[in-house]
């Protein structure tokens, strides 16, 4: 019995790219994250984090660092800290489906090319929207 199923190239390309991005993201998240917990080299020290982690995210950042969060600069401009570097790993994981879709679009037929293009636009809006709109309520 033939056990190999012919999966179309759109799906296989998507899977391969998603797999690579996931590995990269996991390594980038867990290695610096573990170093942060061990060495305590973080933008927010573990002791301070523990003290204020019962506050809403917005209050947490104002109290601990005196910053108003409304975008990605809080970790992108502090990459020398291990906790912020670990967040870059999370960014890679959150980018994995988008990158996989961009790769798959080249192998898709015309109907799916349109659908995947819509998805890319939606994803891009999801990423850039916080840079233009601050929506946490105040």
């Amino acid at each position: 019995m033939v056990k190999d199923v012919k999966v179309d190239p759109m799906n296989t390309t998507f899977a391969k790219v998603m797999e690579v991005m996931t590995y990269l993201g996991l390594i980038m998240m867990i290695v610096p994250g573990t170093l942060y917990l061990i060495t305590k080299n973080g933008l927010v020290s573990t002791k301070v984090a523990v003290k204020y982690w019962d506050k809403p995210a917005k209050v947490f950042w104002v109290t601990t660092k005196g910053i108003k969060i409304g975008g990605y600069s809080w970790f992108l401009s502090n990459l020398h800290y291990m906790d912020c570097l670990s967040v870059v790993g999370i960014v890679l994981l959150a980018l994995a489906p988008l990158v996989a879709i961009i790769a798959a679009i080249t192998k898709a037929d015309s109907k799916y090319r349109i659908l995947l293009a819509v998805l890319i636009v939606e994803f891009t809006i999801a990423i850039v929207r916080p840079l233009f709109m601050h929506v946490t309520g105040h």
């Binding site: 996931t22 994995a96 799916y112």
Partner: protein
């Protein structure tokens, strides 16, 4: 108490969830969010952020393998997530807005989470699973998109081909599921699977695998909202992701030997307890009922 106490407890909890979830046939997020909300000191913003990243990581780890085997299908995913990606972002935005705009917002979230958990409990208790549903008539949209696939089924020793249907009915359902996933940081496999299996007619293995794929896209889109609001704290996320990853590997091996029905009932019992506690804590926070603990 050292700073490490709660992260260590979190690691132990997620390790246990990781072991139990595959045996009980549930996703980790649906246990993680309500239990940490009920028993841990973290604010719900950080719990939902961690829950979302945890569900995303778990789904990303397994989805590519399912796609390569033909079990998860981009042809089902694409039309579905065009709708649900918008609602999952909307859910995340509204969820964070409620906790920040209203002084008692976190209590509203706790009460709503408890109610959602009751719904999950009922869905999991009553929904049936059809291994190979018969698709008699294909709707126009599914036909135009030529949604079909095949995988090798070892229990039958043959390649099983399938088609799906009822896309116009499934789309609003996925929109609602996306909203709940974004708002509470849940994976929402508990809702995706019945829609794919019972409404769209996808075989159960295809439904569970494609659900993982849907979770990757919905949760990744919603994750940006949490990242942009600083609601992702590595001190909470790292122990959770490491715990669930190790636990899931142990759980997958134990699932072969374990008695799933008993474990499933235990998990459903824990879920019910967490639902009651979340609603109680929310009502106690609002001063509707007296605080007992």
């Amino acid at each position: 108490m050292g700073w490490w106490f709660w992260p260590l407890c979190l690691f132990i909890l997620t390790l246990a969830i990781g072991i139990i979830a595959p045996i009980a046939g549930v996703g980790g997020g649906v246990l993680f969010v309500p239990l940490t909300t009920a028993f841990f000191p973290f604010h719900v913003d950080f719990i939902r952020g961690a829950g979302l990243i945890m569900a995303l990581t778990s789904a990303l780890s397994s989805a590519p393998q399912f796609v390569k085997k033909g079990l998860a299908n981009l042809k089902i995913l694409a039309p579905v997530v065009v709708v649900s990606i918008i609602t999952s972002i909307l859910g995340a935005v509204i969820g964070l807005w409620i906790t920040n705009a209203f002084p008692q917002g976190k209590y509203y979230i706790k009460i709503t989470l408890g109610i959602v958990l009751f719904i999950v409990f009922i869905v999991m208790l009553t929904s049936k699973r059809v291994e190979f549903p018969e698709v008699k008539k294909i709707d126009g949209l599914s036909a135009k998109l030529n949604i079909q696939g095949a995988w090798y089924e070892p229990s039958l020793d043959k390649i099983v081909e399938y088609r799906t249907t009822n896309m116009p009915i499934a789309l609003p359902a996925f929109a609602a599921v996306g909203f709940i996933a974004g708002m509470f940081g849940l994976g929402a496999g508990w809702a995706n699977v019945p829609v794919l299996n019972l409404i769209m007619g996808a075989p159960i293995k295809v439904a569970t695998s494609t659900s993982m794929l849907i979770i990757t896209v919905n949760d990744a889109a919603a994750a940006w909202v949490y990242l942009a609001n600083g609601a992702v704290l590595p001190i909470i996320v790292i122990p959770s992701v490491v715990g669930i990853t190790i636990g899931a590997r142990i759980g997958a091996r134990l699932a072969v030997k374990a008695r799933p029905r008993i474990v499933r009932y235990i998990v459903l019992g824990v879920m019910l307890l967490a639902a009651v506690l979340d609603i109680y804590k929310g009502l106690a926070g609002l001063g509707v009922v007296p605080k007992m603990f």
